[in-house]
Structure formats: C-alpha cells, structure tokens
Symmetry: C2
Subunit: 438 residues, 2 copies
Amino acid sequence: MSCESIGIGLVGFGTVGSGVWKTLQENSSLITARTDGAVKLDVRRIAVRDLTKTRDADAPANLFTTDWQAVVEDPSVDLVVELIGGTTTAFDIVAAALRAKKPVVTGNKALLAERGPELFALSAETDTPIHFEAAVAGGIPIIKAVQDSLIGNRIESITGIINGTSNYILERMTEAGLSYQDALQEAQDLGYAEADPTLDVNGWDAAHKAILLATLSYGFPVDPKQVYVRGIEMVRGIDISFAKNLGYVVKLLCVVRAHEDGSIEIRTQPSFIPRTHILASVNGVFNAVALRGDRVGDALFYGRGAGQNPTASSVVADLVEAGRVLRQRSGHHGFLPYRKEGALKSIDDTKTAYYVRFPVTDRPGVIAEIATALAAAGIGISGTHSPVNPSQPDADFVDMVFLLHTCPFGQLKEALKTIESLDCVTDRPVVFRIESLT
Amino acid sequence: MSCESIGIGLVGFGTVGSGVWKTLQENSSLITARTDGAVKLDVRRIAVRDLTKTRDADAPANLFTTDWQAVVEDPSVDLVVELIGGTTTAFDIVAAALRAKKPVVTGNKALLAERGPELFALSAETDTPIHFEAAVAGGIPIIKAVQDSLIGNRIESITGIINGTSNYILERMTEAGLSYQDALQEAQDLGYAEADPTLDVNGWDAAHKAILLATLSYGFPVDPKQVYVRGIEMVRGIDISFAKNLGYVVKLLCVVRAHEDGSIEIRTQPSFIPRTHILASVNGVFNAVALRGDRVGDALFYGRGAGQNPTASSVVADLVEAGRVLRQRSGHHGFLPYRKEGALKSIDDTKTAYYVRFPVTDRPGVIAEIATALAAAGIGISGTHSPVNPSQPDADFVDMVFLLHTCPFGQLKEALKTIESLDCVTDRPVVFRIESLT
C-alpha cells in the first residue's frame, strides 16, 4: 500500500528541530514501512527567526522562511510542529494551527503548563489533535503511558527526576565535590545547561512537567501559581555531605500524589531520598518517572530526558500518531512484515564471555588438561576457580569453574566436545553467558 | 458528549479475565471521563469452560456461556477479548473475531509468537485491529513503546527480564540459599508459579515475549524453532555462589540485538550480569526491559510483569484504544477536564520527614534552645548532627543539622519562625524534605 506523503511545517529549527529533520531524513523509509505505507512524512516548510544562522542540519534553503504564519497557512502543510519555546509567540502558533484544523506537535512544557487549558479547549473545539510527548522527559514515552497505557488506572502517585540539568549538577556536586557554581559552569561547558539556566535550576522546568503529568492524571487544570517549587540553587556541599553520611542522596524531585480527601499534592524541590532506592541511581542527564496506579502497581520509566535525538524521537512518534489519524489508520494490525529477508544470527555466531562449570575428578592435572584443550581451541581463560567451601570436602568429584574470554558460542561448543571426552570430566559442563550489558 | 457503550465479549474468565471485569466495574466512569465520553466499555458476554466453577469476580450469571462462538457472533459484542491461553482454540477464537470484523485484544504470547504471522495477516486483510499489550511484561506498556513511541528509532538492542516466576525463583536461590526445587515450591505456594510451571522455568514464556518484541522491532516473522532457549532448571546453588563471589547475579535474560550484517540475535538463557547494573536490581515478580534505539539512546521500562491487576491494566488500555478507533476518536485533544472541583492540597498540609540545617553561633546551649523550640511546636527530633569535618574549625559560626520526624510543612514553618528569632541562629535555616519513597 502506498499513499501521498503528509506535509510537515516546522516552526523552530534549533537543537530539537534539526534533530527532527535528521530523524525524518535518516529513518523515514523505516517509518513508512512500519506503518504499512500509510504514513510518509515530508517536511515542507521551516520557520526560523534568523535565516542567516548556521544550522545543525542541511535542510534545503528554499524550505526556510521567517514567517511562521506562512508555514501554518501553507496548504501543503498538514501538521504543524512548534519548537520555538516560550509562551507568547508559541501560543499564537499553536492556536493558529488548531484554528486551521492542522494537528499540532509540540515539546513546549512551559506553554502547556501555563496556557495548556486554553489550547486544549481549542483542540477539542476544533476537533484537531495536539500531541506533546516531547514536553516531558525527552525520549521517555511517559505522556502516552499516562494518557493511554494506564488509562484504566487511578493514579496514586508520580515521583520523578525530570530535569537533567539539575540532576547533572547535583551528581557532580555529590561525586566530584564540586561547588554549585563550578558544577553549573561544567554543565554549561558540556552543553547540558543552557546559557540561561534559570528555569532548570530554579525548579520550574521540572515543575512544568509535573503540572502536565498531574493535569493528565487528575483531570483538572492545575494553576501553576498554586504549585510549590524550589530549585537547586540553595543546595550546598555541606548538605550533600550530610545526606551521604545519613544514607541519602540529594535529588531534585517532583512529587504528585492523590490523597484520600480528593486533594492532589504537587511539589518540586531538592529532597533527600534513600541511597538504595532505584531513583537514587538515576544519574547525569537521565530522567526517571516512578508511577503507582491502583491496577498496575509500581512502574518506572527511565531514559534520556533531553537532547536532540531523544526529544526528536518523541516528536517523530507524535507526528506518526497524528499522521495515522489523518490517514484514518489508527488501528494496529499487529506487526506488518516489511523485511522479507530478515535473518536470525546463528546462535553459534553469537559472542559473549562465559562461565563454565566442569564436574571433574579431584586429582592433580585437571586444570592443565582442560586449559590445554581450551588453548587448542583458541579460547582465552580469564580465571579458574574451585569452590571456596565445597559441600563435600572429601568427595572424589568437585566442580571446577573456568571464566572464558569472549568468543563465538560455536567455538566454545566445539571445545566442550573435546573436553567432555577427557577422563577427568565426570559430567556435562554447565555454561552461563556473562553479559557485560554495556 | 455521550454516546452508546461499546460491547465487550470476554473469552476466558480466569485470573486476568476477572481482573478485567473488576477494573471495568470499578474504574469505568473514570475511563469514560478520560475519553470525553467517547468510550464507555460494557462487558456483554463471557465464555468459560465450566459454568459451575467458583469465580474471583461476581459477574451476573446471565452473561456466561460455554460457547465462545456465541460470544464472538453476538451482535451486541463489538470487541473480543481472548484470555484462555494456548495456541489452538485461542487461534480459532481470534481468527473468528477478526473475520467477523471485531477488533481483538489478547494477552496470549504463545499464540502470537507461534502463530502471530497468520493472525496479523488476517488482521490486515480484514482491516480489523489486534492488540496485545498484555502479552509482554504484564502492566508495562512495552508493546506500545516499540509499536508507537519509538517508531522513529532503529532498535539496536532489547535486553529483558520478562519472566517473573523465573526471576522470583532465582532471587530466592540467591538471597535465601534455597535449592531450585524448594524455591519453585515456594513460588507455587505463593501463587507466583502455576501448577504446571513448565513454560516459565524452561524459558519459553520469556522467549515467546522476546520473539514478539523482535518481530515488532525488526519487521520479519521470527521462527520460534530457530530461537535458542534455555531455562532455569539447570541453575544450581553452586553457580549462584560463584556468580556472587565474582560480582555477578544470575538472571533469566532475553537478548535481542541487531548486528551490522543485518542479522538479528535472539536468545533466552540464564546469564551472569554485573551486580551493579540496573537490571541486577530487578527482583521478585517484577519485569524490566532495557532498550537501545538510535535516537532515544538507552531507555528502561520496569513494573509488574504478571498478575491479575497489572495484566488487566494492559488489557483495558487496549480495549480503550480499540474503542477510540471504533468511535473514530483516536486524536488526542491534550487533556479533557473531567473534574470541575479538583483541588491542590496546600503545601502547608503536606507531610514528610525533614532535614533542617541551622547556621548557628558555636556555643554551649544551642542544641537545647532549638530542641526546646521544636518540642514546643510538637515536632519530634530523630537526630542532631554537627559537621564531622568543619571547613573552618575555629569559626564562631557552625552548621547544626536536625533530622525531624514527619509533620505537616506548615507546622515546621511556624516552628522555624520562632527558631529564626533566637539569638544563636545567625542565618535562615535550610530545609530539605526526606522522602521515604515507600
């Protein structure tokens, strides 16, 4: 099946916008195949503030304009992507697109937290969808989880680490003993913090995301003015040290919680959390959202919370969803074969390191015999071990463990055939793969 | 907006089926509100094998029948849910529903891994959707992640712990030193393992899930006969001990990985993984899927991989998605207000424990003065600390830390007002919440 492509108008071509462009260039045939030909996305116009600026992606010059209205109004544009940030012009862009009945994709958490109710009402009034997976936690599909996957749940609580800049700064203060100022400077030098990091370090970026999650979970518009927000500027090395000594780590934490009286608690602030909790191991620019529902119980979503490609991943997913609706192809048919020649790798060709336990006769020379056979097969040994406390110290048979370097499984199997035939080996060896998981 | 309800036919009313019934009874008004009235789900017929069996949920007797065909053919049934398991009758049920153009929701991983390609082809041919979020990792929305949220990504690898029974048994062997047999018995006694645990402990339940994830990610049907599968029956205490001593834990791991030559590696087997890796801390009946995409980078999804309510959560999400398509209401309008009287809890009424650091004059009596003020405010102290290594040992001012028991924030604020006015307190106290995250 094939059909006409869907026209995209991009408003904003900074980090995320150029990531969306590149993703659509590099993976568009895959996307079209995965939607059985229904969704072919084509960027037709791009609005930017300054046409002369150097860009991170090489879109054709004739796509660019400084006039966002021309993009929204262009009849060849079916879907509008707003990626300029802020709450004024961005509002006008989204509202204009919805009024033109063009579905909108945005990653603008400030806009939606501050002025979402107006835009959502307009979306319903015009029956024109608005998608914003990229607005919370970058590449992690937490909006879809709350909107769709957990729709049958009463959400009891959401606890999130959803500002990568703050998390990076706190981690560097904790691990490297940096001062707040030095850690912030380092984050800026590495591109993890913007030139103006105000909304990150004062907690409001995280709070905007928490407000969106709370709004989706609890069904009423949350007034940002009523939300308690504190940032990480007040965190000092002395607090980090105390936290460490007491078994905690300091994280900028968003807490959303439903109470029995029907009220909703929402707050964002640097908090002590137990060092052993899974959220304590969320480091660097990663985000995590822990959620508890009355049906699903505890669930956790973890991934890159910002950056060009992870955020583009979510924008593109929204574009595909909007495209499916435009093409009236929302229903899933399971899996659509798009690779006719897909092949599995033979298990013999797959490689890891190995743990092999050989049941052997307890006599001198056993290690040498096995090691010689492994060497003949070209397999390196990283260690050999016998049990520290054998359960039967006087037994004639013991288990001898060999740790082996990475090699194809087929090579190991061949070597084991030889070794099994040795007199000293009394039973079939037991093999576990050692997964490095890098 | 309101509209007619959507008729559900349940085939199978065991653990998951009765969980779906209960979820729809208890949370259906919430679901209808969240879909702006578009999706009202109503169970109209239930097929079971034995009408006399005691059930876990109290559905009206007149809904039940032993004839699944009557359920599929019932004109009041719009959507069919297959929850009987197995690959023969279940196949007939799903195929009959698709031929009747009734969208199907199933959690049957064996059916889809073994005979999915036939059913998916039928789904496409009849243009009738099939949904199966519940087939992999219970309540974790990993199918939607792979099908929709990460559709713009080339999936580089998927690594999962996706059989809770095996994971529970391995954990008990590791933590409590139980033998395989004793751990299996305990899992059965607690309801974590079925009376016939064959498919769990021989690795095939996990392998079926891995096959589904690989099929969705790589676009060709994977032949189960070509997949390498080993279960946990061969794991012995001695291997667990060795793993521990070497810095690893033993997990039943599914590995799916794309290679540069285009081939796909798929295998399921007990493996050693580094004790420090996040997957090593996935314990008990929890599941986790770690995924790497070319755009999103590393992401992880974690939650309950089985059980009545988590699995029902996924079945219900699929029913809502199918219902949205039936009602042609797939496009999201952001958030639809359904609670007019939603209220935030005042920050003063929110409760946690606290860390409070007071900059104070370094003289005797300071702790007593602060402690007295806290006592007067009715706030309990769990500890007081001064810095172990003050940076300026001869300074006149030091920081004194108090750890406080749980109390409302407003109560703490009042107490701090009093304490700030003490002569010995030289600057504003710094407050961190201590989150227990239970």
